[in-house]
């Protein structure tokens, strides 16, 4: 990418980075600022970051734990190029050879005379430059990269100064609310504007097909009007099935099946399972994850303003450009008529309602051109209407040979799609409200992804060296619930299954689970994180399953078999009377290549482990004929402070090797580590999430 598209020098000593990747609490802006400051040799305090804006920043989306690799590399190279060109300019200006010059905090000097980046380049463009003309620094020369510099965005948030889209105050702003049907396919029968229209402050009531919204001068007025409209609306019912049958429903539906080779789905017939002659012991097991929510702490919000047939949207989307294209496509506009400005939101952990609420706001704002609309979803809107992480079933079968080595491995995964992000589509839209308009755009029919470690088959192919493997993806197109990308996508259930089954096989082989993994693992970095986590956790070696109420378990994966390596050891206590699992502590080891910001990386890993622990122990989206019944924090319960274990993080730095994305890397190993620890503690094998006391109790009674 050109220097100008990423970096600008102003006239008063600052460097402005135009970062299209968005801050979602993962610290990416700080990490990119570190990389740029490092290459430019400027003080970190001189860096200012400009947020994603479709009129100012390059095309990018923040997905798949890719930002540190894609944006990090782009900024490293652009900064190295800028440094090279400015050194040449300085040499010409000072009439000395480049070799005589040194740079200190943006000041270029030969010892006698000096100039600065800002004197040479302030307010000017570089224009077209020779690509990769600058040589990035050697990692051994790093002084900023590798340091735990504090996050640039935290002081404002901790001081409580406005930081989120929810905090926007725009001139002449009004407030909006939307009213949703009881279930996805329910349609509006009748509704009466009257009682709401007469309420104070109400400016407009919008009803387009089955999409209803209201605008009012003040927020509490919009809420009261929305409540009145909700009460008056009558819907043609369209019942949902029940969550009681989610797994039988998933397995009973027709699927499209693909053999996955080296992480990539293949066209053609899927071979049957066939144990080899060397097999002396064959095991099989089935693992289940329910639908999970992103459940952002703040419900989705957006602001929208129409002016002269142009739409401006403030959004906490992960992709300003895909949202712009999707809005344009849903509203019948050209891309140029829509501008999306990124504004931070609560942690999203994937594709939640952030994009949908932007279309809601745009539809309402159209009724009041010239006045910006701030629209916030309610808690129930967020819980019931976001796109969930898909339910999944994984069936495994493997055989051990005479020396206790795995000689055959089979992994069959069933899931609905994990890809429902907005993108411009002819005649369809992934933005929620589009399907309810009088002239509707239905959601597109999901299709199976064929990319390496895509959604369903992400991490389905184990990193272990097995003599034979057969990995099969069963793509099921028709989910009863709306689904899309949730942190880790399919890796969460695939790694849960692989790492639980590795423990089951270790037990069958009468082996220590760590030793058993190492005997199947050639990658030295994979081996190193497993060994490091075991060391940090004071791993008690030996065969598992006899921990007498207290146990240790390990889970491991390299995210997408290509990104951050993570091993997690949980120590748990199981109360056999109540079935309650107490998380006593967790030890994480991570290898994310060259570490840019150690504390930021640790924060991602420990946060990922705790969030995944919450999914594992507590979370499941409940639904029934009347709709989604998990509509608040009581009907969708999460891990609370009193249940949080202390977490220890050990980072294995790899100076000089590429930095690897880590944001989603801890999700998969966590449920397996907990399940394996429970087996060690109580001798019961948990294969269905969430691990509720009832489920643990039932497993204990079967012993």
């Amino acid at each position: 990418m050109s220097i100008d598209s990423l970096i600008r020098f102003d006239t008063d000593g600052q460097v402005i980075l135009k970062v299209a990747h968005v801050e979602i609490g993962q610290g990416i802006l700080t990490a990119i600022a570190q990389i740029a400051a490092e290459e430019l040799d400027v003080d970190f305090a001189r860096i200012r970051v400009e947020r994603a804006d479709t009129e100012r920043t390059p095309i990018a989306s923040t997905t798949g734990s890719n930002s540190i690799q894609t944006a990090g590399s782009a900024f490293r190279q652009a900064a190295a190029d800028a440094r090279h060109l400015l050194l040449a300019k300085a040499a010409a200006a000072l009439e000395v050879p480049v070799e005589n010059l040194a740079i200190t905090d943006g000041t270029i000097s030969d010892g006698n005379n000096h100039t600065t980046y800002w004197a040479l380049q302030g307010g000017q463009l570089f224009g077209e430059t020779e690509p990769n003309i600058g040589q990035p620094k050697s990692p051994t020369d790093y002084t900023l990269v590798g340091q735990s510099l504090p996050r640039l965005d935290l002081p404002a948030k901790i001081a409580g100064t406005p930081s989120f889209v929810h905090d926007l105050e725009l001139p002449d702003m009004v407030h909006g609310r939307v009213i949703r049907p009881p279930t996805y396919a329910a349609t509006l029968a009748t509704f009466d504007e009257g009682p709401a229209a007469d309420l104070p402050g109400v400016l407009a009531i919008i009803c387009d097909g089955s999409f209803i919204g209201v605008l009012a001068e003040r927020e509490e007025q919009a809420e009261k009007a929305a409540a009145a409209l909700r009460q008056s609306a009558r819907w043609h019912p369209a019942p949902l099935p029940s969550s009681d049958t989610l797994y039988t429903d998933l397995l009973a539906k027709p699927s499209q099946d693909f053999l996955v080779v080296d992480g990539v789905p293949q066209d053609g017939p899927v071979p049957p399972i066939k144990a080899p002659p060397s097999a002396v012991q064959t095991l099989d097991a089935t693992y289940y994850r329910p639908y999970h929510m992103h459940a952002a702490l703040g419900p989705a919000a957006a602001a929208a303003l129409w002016q002269d047939d142009h739409l401006k949207v403030w959004s906490h989307t992960q992709g300003a450009y895909p949202l712009r294209g999707s809005l344009a496509s849903a509203l019948g506009l050209a891309d140029e008529q829509v501008r999306v400005l990124h504004c931070e939101g609560p942690g999203c952990y994937g594709h939640n309602g952030a994009d949908d609420v932007a279309l809601d706001a745009a539809l309402l704002a159209h009724a009041l051109p010239g006045r910006p609309v701030l629209l916030k979803w309610s808690r129930a809107d967020e819980h019931a209407w976001e796109a969930y992480g898909s339910a999944m079933v994984v069936k495994t079968q493997a055989s051990l040979d005479v020396v206790g080595q795995i000689c055959d491995w089979n992994h069959d995964v069933w899931s609905y799609t994990h890809s429902g992000r907005p993108r411009p589509i002819d005649g369809a839209s992934n933005l929620l409200a589009a399907r309810y308009l009088a002239d509707p755009l239905p959601p597109p029919t999901p299709s199976p992804g064929k990319g390496s470690h895509g959604g369903i088959h992400r991490n389905a192919d184990p990193l272990y060296a097995f003599a034979r493997r057969r990995v099969v993806k069963h793509f099921v197109p028709n989910s009863p619930l709306r689904t899309s990308a949730l942190r880790g996508l399919g890796a969460f259930a695939n790694v849960f299954a692989i790492e639980s089954f590795m423990d089951e096989l270790a037990y069958a082989a009468a082996a220590d689970p760590v030793e058993f993994r190492l005997r199947h693992l050639e990658d030295p970095r994979a081996r190193a994180v497993i060994e490091a986590a075991a060391t940090e956790a004071n791993w008690r070696s030996g065969v598992r399953g006899n921990g007498r109420g207290r146990g240790q378990g390990l889970g491991f994966a390299q995210y997408k078999n290509a990104k951050c390596y993570v091993a997690v050891v949980f120590t748990v206590a199981v109360d056999t009377a109540s079935g309650q699992i107490h998380l006593e502590n967790a030890a994480i080891a991570g290898d994310a290549g060259q570490i840019v910001n150690p504390d930021g990386l640790a924060n991602q890993l420990e946060g990922g482990v705790l969030q995944a622990a919450s999914w594992t122990l507590k979370e499941q989206v409940q639904y029934g004929p009347d709709g989604i019944t998990s509509r608040d924090w009581e009907t969708y319960s999460v891990l609370h402070f009193a249940e949080i274990p202390p977490v220890l993080v050990k980072l294995l730095d790899q100076p000089g090797s590429p930095s690897l994305g880590s944001g989603e890397a801890a999700q998969g190993p966590t449920p397996a580590a907990i399940a394996n620890a429970v087996f060690d503690a109580a001798g019961v094998r948990l294969r269905q999430m969430p691990f509720t006391p009832e489920r643990v109790g039932a497993a204990l009674r079967e012993l």
């Binding site: 996050r151 002081p155 001081a159 409580g160 105050e169 419900p299 942690g347 946060g607 009193a642």
Partner: protein
């Protein structure tokens, strides 16, 4: 129907002509421009909207503005300013005790009430005091460390 309501916030008295049923949170955010407290659920289940009312940390999302009476309200903005942060705020930054930061204001307010009542809380005391709060990013341990760090600093 609106009504003139007197509200004591961060040491200042405000007179507002407003719907007496309006949630305190919306009045603080929309009328007084105090954006630190956040809407999370409107159901008193997550703690994101907590403010101090006469020193007690209470959710402001479901408290009607008319119910506050003469009580003194303190929001996060009233604890410290960007130039002069409260020890708790400094400790949250020192421990990098946030990811998205949406839960931070409510947690710092709850921690203030806790430390006023119990200047040397154990991990268990902190977890009990914060148990209604939700942090979706998993920064709980950093938050606990930050509160202990602030407790030490305040005690010095």
């Amino acid at each position: 129907m609106t009504k003139v309501i007197k509200l004591r916030v961060n040491g200042e008295t405000h007179r507002l002509d407003t719907d007496p049923d309006a949630p305190l949170l919306q009045i603080l955010r929309n009328d007084l421009g105090l954006k630190a407290a956040k809407f999370g659920c409107g159901l008193e289940q997550c703690g994101a909207c907590k403010v101090l009312i006469d020193g007690q940390a209470v959710p402001s999302c479901a408290t009607p503005v008319s119910a506050v009476g003469d009580a003194e309200i303190t929001t996060l903005e009233g604890l410290g300013t960007p130039a002069d942060l409260h020890p708790l705020q400094r400790a949250f930054i020192a421990e990098q005790a946030a990811q998205c930061g949406y839960c931070s204001a409510g947690l710092i307010i709850a921690a203030k009430a806790l430390l006023d009542d119990n200047p040397h809380p154990t991990r268990r005391d902190i977890c009990r005091a914060l148990d209604v709060h939700i942090c979706r990013c998993g920064t709980h341990n950093r938050i606990i460390c930050a509160i202990q760090r602030a407790a030490q600093e305040i005690a010095l």
